[in-house]
């Protein structure tokens, strides 16, 4: 059985089926969409069970067919541990979002079925982008993915949806085009070095580029990923897009789509351009730290709930990049785990906030108060999601955040210490939001806020379970992530600094890697 | 008289045509400027044909004349149609299409 191809096609077929349903069969469209997404999830779980964490192969479930021979492009799919967990993230979130966003598209003047068809289409693209092991194919999915999201925001979003959708698309395309330029450059380098141009990832990692070329090409890729992720200062599209999108779209946007950026840095920037990655590391670390603090401070200053959540993500993305460019196994495994944990916790936060906002009809923090009193379950879920967002120990996000910090600390102690202040700010923005919206006397207008319905609880509960389960027992994820990260480290040519007695670590300089400086 | 003289003359004629196109408003005159450019080319062709001692230049000149004639047919048709509509042969008049 060709796992990845099936996985790619299943939601795509689902999208077509949903799109072909009659316009008035709204419930059926939703059910079919849910069915396809659940089937995809089942398939992903089955595949994950077949995944061999101990394997020495860089990629598993590999399938490859020549696609555009003239450009050396093949339709090659395959997963390593990093890709696997991200695919799983997407596969979990889509059914959750469909169920949680059951009525999100009902009040739009565009057909409801379209929303769900787009969502499935997006899922196919997301699986493709993580499963691609051909750089060109990756780029194709990277760009195509924008289109369903663009329509999801633009057709089904809030009042300023078209502004937000256009901003999202243009900024992302702009970033992507620079990647395209680098991609072509890479191809030309390959052409010169091995005679025939190719986009095969593993072949490309073997290239010997001179430093200047590497740095130029790295910048193209990194810019695209930085815009996508988004890193400070390329982040301004995200608050608009996430605010105007329906909560479900926002979840997929921030939870999965943006992960492609950080995934790309880890999977492509580092192994393809090892020297350049290390060359730019100091700058990127600084950017990440600014992002962490900046995002958190801006989240504190927001008056719009969704915007606030969006800014928290900017802070979180800072952590993820920090971990990736710390160039330690803890940092990179932590970042990978952070990607999925952030997916779950932000999803929970957006969805519960969405439930709340759909009841009261306002996005402003100041319109809420005392919701705890009238809708305790909603408030409870909101609190759990918030606590996950602030990386409460015991929840999965803590494991990843701590790994990122400790992984950074061994190399860049000062950076790690500054980044750690982010946890204080996180407590501030989460709890202050909770305090303002959920506690205190019931604000006028909030008296009629109903508590969560059964469907909503069913939708969000898996996230809560995952957040807690992975916090207590992250081994299933870490076991598959670690080997992939180790391979990345080997590709970059870095090793974990040795720690412990006699390692000569210093708060100002960090620990020196074994064999460094030779 | 060397070939150069002919070429210089031809260049002058061509320039007259090329610049005339910019300065004249009447469509017919503008068109005649274009014809002047073509004829300047013909002069150059013929002069070069003599210089090189082959016939290709002369043949080209003939073809240019034929083509110029065809252009006149088409051009005049268009100009006349416009004149009938607008009662003016100014090339500046039809400027609805812009920006």
């Amino acid at each position: 059985m060709n796992w990845l191809l099936t996985l790619l096609l299943l939601p795509a077929i689902g999208a077509v089926v949903v799109a072909l349903l009659p316009k008035d069969k709204i419930d059926m469209a939703k059910q079919v969409a849910l069915g396809f997404s659940v089937a995809t999830l089942v398939l992903v779980i089955a595949m994950a069970l077949q995944f061999d964490a101990e394997s020495t192969e860089p990629f598993q479930f590999v399938t490859s067919t020549p696609w555009i021979r003239s450009f050396g492009v093949s339709f090659s799919l395959g997963v390593d541990g990093i890709a696997l967990v991200l695919i799983a993230l997407a596969a979990v979130l889509v059914p959750v979002v469909i169920l949680a966003g059951w009525n999100e598209a009902d009040h739009s003047d565009a057909p409801t079925k379209g929303y769900f068809a787009l969502m499935l289409l997006l899922e196919a693209c997301m699986i493709g982008v993580f499963a691609a092991v051909d750089v060109f194919l990756f780029y194709v999915f990277f760009e195509v993915m924008l289109i369903p999201m663009y329509f999801m925001i633009g057709r089904y979003g809030g009042a300023r949806r078209s502004y937000a959708a256009v901003k999202f698309l243009i900024v992302s395309l702009f970033g992507g085009l620079f990647m395209l330029a680098s991609l072509i450059g890479l191809y030309v380098v390959a052409q010169r070095e091995i005679g025939a141009g190719t986009f095969d990832f593993l072949t490309l990692t073997q290239l010997n580029m001179d430093d200047t070329t590497q740095r130029m090409l790295f910048l193209g890729f990194f810019f695209a990923f930085a815009v996508k992720a988004p890193l400070w200062p390329f982040h301004t599209w995200l608050p608009d897009a996430a605010t105007e999108a329906q909560p479900g779209s926002a979840v997929l946007l921030v939870g999965v789509l943006d992960k492609v950026g950080t995934f790309g840095m880890l999977r492509y920037c580092l192994p393809l351009f090892p020297e350049a990655s290390q060359f730019y590391t100091p700058i990127i670390i600084v950017i990440s730290i600014i992002g962490i603090i900046y995002g958190a401070l801006l989240a504190i200053g927001q008056t719009d709930i969704k915007r606030l959540i969006a800014y928290t993500s900017i802070s979180h993305f800072g952590f993820i990049t920090l971990g990736i460019f710390a160039m330690t196994s803890q940092g990179q495994s932590g970042s990978t785990l952070y990607m999925i944990n952030h997916g779950f916790s932000t999803a929970a936060l957006f969805l519960v906030a969405g439930f709340l906002m759909s009841r009261r009809g306002s996005k402003l923090v100041e319109d809420y108060g005392g919701v705890y009193k009238v809708a305790p379950l909603l408030a409870g879920f909101f609190l759990i999601a918030g606590l996950s967002s602030l990386a409460l120990p015991g929840m999965s996000s803590f494991v990843s955040e701590f790994l990122v910090l400790v992984g950074t600390f061994v190399r860049y102690p000062i950076a790690a210490v500054i980044a750690t202040t982010g946890i204080i700010l996180a407590a501030l923005y989460v709890l202050w939001l909770y305090q303002r919206t959920m506690t205190g006397p019931v604000k006028p207008g909030c008296e009629d806020v109903k508590d969560l319905t059964g469907r909503e609880i069913v939708a969000v509960s898996p996230l809560v379970v995952l957040i807690l389960a992975l916090g207590v027992f992250p081994a299933p994820a870490l076991n598959v992530i670690n080997p992939a990260v180790d391979r990345t480290m080997v590709a970059v040519g870095v090793m974990d600094p040795s720690v412990g007695v006699g390692a000569g670590c210093d708060l100002a300089d960090g620990c020196r890697a074994e064999g460094e400086g030779q | 008289m060397t070939t150069d003289h002919y070429i210089v003359l031809s260049a002058v004629l061509f320039s007259l045509g090329a610049f005339g196109m910019l300065f004249r408003r009447n469509a017919i005159v503008v068109f005649m400027c274009v014809e002047l450019m073509l004829n300047a080319s013909n002069l150059a062709f013929v002069a070069f044909a003599r210089m090189h001692g082959n016939l290709e230049g002369q043949v080209f000149a003939f073809f240019t004349m034929v083509v110029a004639a065809a252009e006149v047919v088409v051009g005049l048709a268009i100009i006349v149609a416009i004149f009938r509509t607008r009662r003016s042969a100014s090339v500046d008049e039809p400027s609805l299409l812009r920006f």
């Binding site: 021979r69 780029y139 663009y150 030309v188 | 274009v34 150059a44 001692g53 080209f60 509509t85």
Partner: protein, 515 residues
């Protein structure tokens, strides 16, 4: 006159090799005869049959010639890979254009062309003609001549043939541009501008040809190459010739700063004609440009590449930036055509085989996409005719999701989104550009693509995300002609994006000029 040839050897035409040209041009002549001798009532049918047969037959002839690499008609016509590929492309877009031109269901008054171009706009005559249901059938011979000219343009192997082909291609188009049934003032204006500026550019071409002839003593490309090889020195004639010839060809291509006719003509001409010239002329002109610059002036590439850099950069940027603020869809598509011409020039200035094949692929892909876009423009109508104001397109996606969806796919292709032909083409030329050492131009190309994406996206926003306007036009249900045309173009756009390999192979194989 001392070198006069004394004996006259009968020229060897090699009819088999020029069969496609002969079929099309012969069809044109036959079409004129049909106009002359057939009664008005049966002309349309006869012409349509003729055009159909001619185009198909010519295409078959082109296919049969595939793989040929030879000269015909005493070396004046090159029958090589690029020529055949582009002739085939021209015939294909001509077929689709013919479908659009034959459409008479979208406009209640008839087809897109004035019943009598000579009738005064708004006159009693015109009304009478309209009421009688007269249809313009003279466009068909014109169309065939133009197609023949285009085909010849791409295969001309000497300056004279190239010039004649240029005129055979252009003159019918000048006329067709002025024959719109509605908005005739605009149409006539377009015709006049096109004609005057086209003739002006022809002047440059002929003078450039004269200079080149003066330099090399011959007008055949092999002869020119030879003389250039013999005399690599500084020569004013050569520089003048190169500049002047490029002016003419870049004019036809629609490159900045020779582009200004494009928006006006595209907007004013009857839309099916616009579609035809947007697709066909682009292929023919770029084809000729490729042959001239690669074959005849190949030895001078270090001289003309810098100017091509400048032109390409200016073309991409101006096209993309000016399109941003357009309010008329046809004009916007015209600026998009300019920007795309700039992208194609990257393939030209790459001066490598990848550049040649990439450009040829681009031409074919772009030809179909642009045809499709203009075809859709013909369907969006209000009582005054086509509703080309962009603001009128608001909310189209809600009333006609199918048409709007098709348009969206085409626009995404123009924007270069992967899985559309636009992406494959851009990739092909960008790749050739970088391989050819033109990285800066490619980077500008990337930026221009980003800017360009903005206005394509803007149309999508209008169609899908905006409330329907008060004076919203209706989407007319077309006859199967336009429907097929749109279907084919959208399908080609998608197929060349998803599975482009076979066409790329074809372009690759065809990418060697005979020298």
């Amino acid at each position: 006159m001392n070198g006069v040839v004394e004996t006259f050897a009968s020229p060897e035409i090699r009819y088999g090799l020029v069969a496609p040209l002969l079929i099309v041009l012969g069809g044109g002549v036959l079409g004129v005869l049909l106009e002359a001798f057939l009664p008005r009532g049966s002309r349309r049918t006869a012409q349509l049959v003729l055009v159909g047969v001619v185009l198909v037959a010519a295409f078959v002839a082109v296919v049969r010639l595939a793989g040929t690499n030879d000269l015909a008609a005493e070396g004046t016509i090159a029958v090589d890979g690029p020529a055949l590929f582009m002739q085939g492309s021209i015939l294909l877009v001509a077929m689709v254009s013919a479908l659009l031109m034959a459409e008479r269901q979208v406009d209640p008054a008839g087809d897109a062309f004035a019943p009598q171009a000579s009738a005064l706009p708004g006159s009693a005559d015109e009304k009478a003609f309209t009421q009688r249901g007269w249809l313009q059938t003279e466009i068909w011979p014109l169309f065939l001549f133009s197609v023949g000219g285009m085909m010849m343009f791409t295969s001309a192997n000497d300056l004279l043939t190239m010039f004649v082909a240029l005129e055979v291609m252009s003159l019918p188009l000048y006329l067709m541009a002025g024959m719109a049934r509605r908005r005739r003032l605009l149409s006539q204006e377009a015709a006049m501008k096109y004609f005057l500026l086209g003739a002006y550019s022809s002047g440059f071409f002929v003078f450039g040809a004269a200079m080149l002839y003066g330099f090399s003593g011959t007008i055949t490309f092999p002869g020119i190459v030879e003389s250039m090889a013999a005399d690599p020195g500084n020569n004013g004639l050569l520089i003048a010739a190169t500049g002047l010839l490029f002016v003419a060809l870049l004019f036809k291509v629609g490159a900045v700063p020779f582009h200004q006719w494009t928006p006006d003509v595209y907007q004013g001409a009857p839309t099916p004609a616009t579609a035809f010239m947007a697709a066909g002329v682009k292929i023919a002109a770029v084809g000729a440009l490729l042959r001239l610059s690669y074959v005849a002036l190949g030895g001078l590439r270090w001289d003309w590449r810098p100017l091509m850099w400048a032109v390409a950069i200016a073309t991409m940027l101006v096209g993309a930036i000016v399109a941003l603020t357009q309010t008329d869809i046809k004009r916007m598509l015209a600026y998009s055509a300019i920007a795309n011409a700039g992208f194609m020039l990257i393939g030209v200035l790459a001066t490598n085989q990848a550049g040649l094949s990439g450009t040829m692929f681009y031409l074919l892909a772009y030809g179909f996409s642009t045809l499709g876009a203009f075809a859709i423009v013909t369907l969006v109508r209000d009582p005054a005719g086509e509703a080309t104001k962009l603001s009128q397109w608001a909310g189209l996606g809600k009333t006609s999701p199918l048409i709007a969806g098709a348009m969206a796919i085409l626009l995404l292709a123009f924007a270069g989104i992967p899985l559309t032909s636009g992406f494959t083409s851009k990739f092909a030329v960008f790749q050739a550009g970088i391989a050819g050492g033109a990285t800066p131009v490619v980077i500008v190309g990337v930026i221009a693509s980003a800017i360009a994406a903005f206005f394509y996206v803007r149309v999508i926003v209008l169609m899908f995300f905006t409330e329907r306007a008060e004076d919203a036009p209706a989407v007319v249900v077309p006859s199967s002609l336009t429907a097929v045309a749109i279907g084919v173009t959208v399908a080609v756009t998608v197929i060349l994006g998803v599975l482009p390999q076979s066409v790329l192979d074809l372009a690759d194989k065809a990418s060697t000029f005979i020298r």
